[in-house]
């Protein structure tokens, strides 16, 4: 489903170039949940932007859903993201002037998905669909943002530190909602986090350090966030 080969990415920092990804290669199979673990500055978020088509690598290949996105133009990548990708961000980025339901429509409309109400109900927010983000707790807002991404019927869901702004208990519940939706809908998910506890919830764990992948482990059986006692 996702295949990256020898990917490099640098950013200009004043006069100096900082290489953030140093020849990263990886593979994530269809329907898997891959967790990318690493400390701050290890290149996780850059890897996520390259794998999702938000950015192009300096060199190397990225193939996602059978298409070589590293060779695509900006317009083609936009169309690819529209067709195949969903995002969940640490800071939720819900539109404050729209209700939870209307925020979910941002994703649902792209897939012409009329049953977005069911997804809101699946993340436990059926009753709160008319609430504005400012009337929801942090965990509820993140669940809306997951519903927004899933309502788009993505083939691949990218999650950037989805529990980073939440307390432990809320984070656990958000991850369990996510695992439930993934089980039901079968999309591939790539989650970037520095939370070691989440590694046992994944099929594949990719560890990064200083722009390189230092280890890839596969779990036999995914556990729920509650099972691992996090």
């Amino acid at each position: 489903m996702i295949f990256a080969e020898n990917v490099t990415k640098s950013y200009a920092n004043g006069r100096t170039q900082t290489q953030v990804l140093k020849g990263v290669s990886l593979e994530v199979k269809k329907g898997e949940l891959a967790v990318v673990l690493g400390a701050s500055g290890s290149g996780k978020s850059t890897l996520l932007s390259v794998l999702s088509g938000l950015e192009t690598p300096d060199s190397g290949r990225v193939v996602a859903d059978g298409e070589e996105i590293s060779a695509m133009s900006e317009g083609e990548r936009t169309k690819f993201r529209r067709r195949a990708v969903g995002f969940v961000f640490q800071q939720y980025f819900l539109l404050p002037h729209l209700t939870a339901e209307k925020n979910v429509k941002l994703g649902a409309d792209l897939a012409k998905n009329g049953s977005y109400g069911e997804i809101l109900a699946a993340v436990g927010l059926g009753e709160k669909r008319k609430k504005y983000p400012s009337e929801l707790s942090g965990g509820e807002q993140q669940r809306v943002s997951i519903a927004r991404a899933v309502a788009k019927n993505p083939k691949i869901l990218f999650l950037d530190e989805p529990t980073g702004a939440l307390d432990e208990e809320t984070g656990r519940s958000v991850i369990d909602y996510l695992l439930k939706l993934q089980r039901e809908r079968g999309f591939t998910a790539v989650m970037v986090t520095h939370n070691e506890n989440l590694s046992e919830t994944a099929d594949r764990v990719i560890r990064m350090n200083s722009g390189k992948i230092i280890a890839v482990n596969q779990n036999g059986r995914k556990k729920s966030a509650y099972e691992i006692g996090w």
Partner: protein, 376 residues
Amino acid sequence: MIVGVKDGFKFIGVAVVCACATFVLTFFLNYRLDALAVDAGTLSEEARALYDAQLVSAKITCAVTGGCLALIAAALTVFYVGVYIDSRAQRLGVLKALGYSDGRLAAGFLAFGLSVFVGSAAGHGAGYAFSPIVYRLMSDGLIPLTLRYHTTLTVCLVLLPTALFAALAALCALVKLRRPALSLIRGKAEREKHGKDGRAERSFLRDCMLKTPARSKLLTFFVAIAGFCYGTMLQMSRSMKELSSVTMGAVMLLIGVVLSVTAFALAMTSLTRANAKTVALMRAYGYSLSECGAAVFGGFRLFAYLGFAVGTVYQYGLLKLMTAVVFRGVAGMPAYTFDVKAFFVTLATFLVLYEAAIAFFTYRIGKTPLKNFIAE
């Protein structure tokens, strides 16, 4: 210093509006004051009719222009102060937490009066420089007038507005700063008032288009004002060729373009800044640039054209009033009829310029780097 001298000069929009207003008011009011000093009894019958008409015309023009532009400048002041405080909320919150009173912080905003001073002083100077031409055109060789400098005008058109707008800026700041220090530091916006939730079946893009103007009422006002100024001044400038002179027409054209561009650019740049995150999110999800542009700017089109329509009616009414009532009996004054050709030419240029500007700002809004957004 809370608001530096440099910040005081950043009030460009207000300075431009003040310059335009003071420019027009200077030569019309100076003309009126000098004309009032003339012994009307010594004038011929023909000259007397023109004299009376020009006095009333100067009065009406000053009241209308001064009133409209003062309103726009006041709205701009309120807007700028709000934006300034929102963008520096954290710093101001820290100062409040350290013990600075609202009054002391708000007093710093008096510096915004500097822009008003610079704008109105420039407009006042330009008005005097242009006065000899206006005197020649308005007196038509019939009224013996000498251009004199009036200190009162400098006080009323430069010093008084500077003081008033500085006070308005400080007052606005005082109201905006009445929030707990912690709420400013955390950057929490004042609780947004939510209007009616749109119909559930309405698409996300349509919702955005309808809600953006409703959420930014002041910016909607500026877009409407841009349309109004363009429609009014450009059509009037065309009519001025017959009613007054090509020079007066050119002055109106210039003022119309400057005012509409200032108001429109201010609204669009503010919208671009305020919606950068929304657009970055939409782009990440795969919305095209044109869809993003429509979501952010699309809802303002109606207000721009509405402003243009009101401007068209307004300029027709004003010119009809001037020619049919004020200048009635003045020799050589042509009858005024609605200039259909001028209307269509102005409408066509407005349409092209407006859509080109929207395309430009849509392109600019798409430049928000998605990576910055994801790494935030």
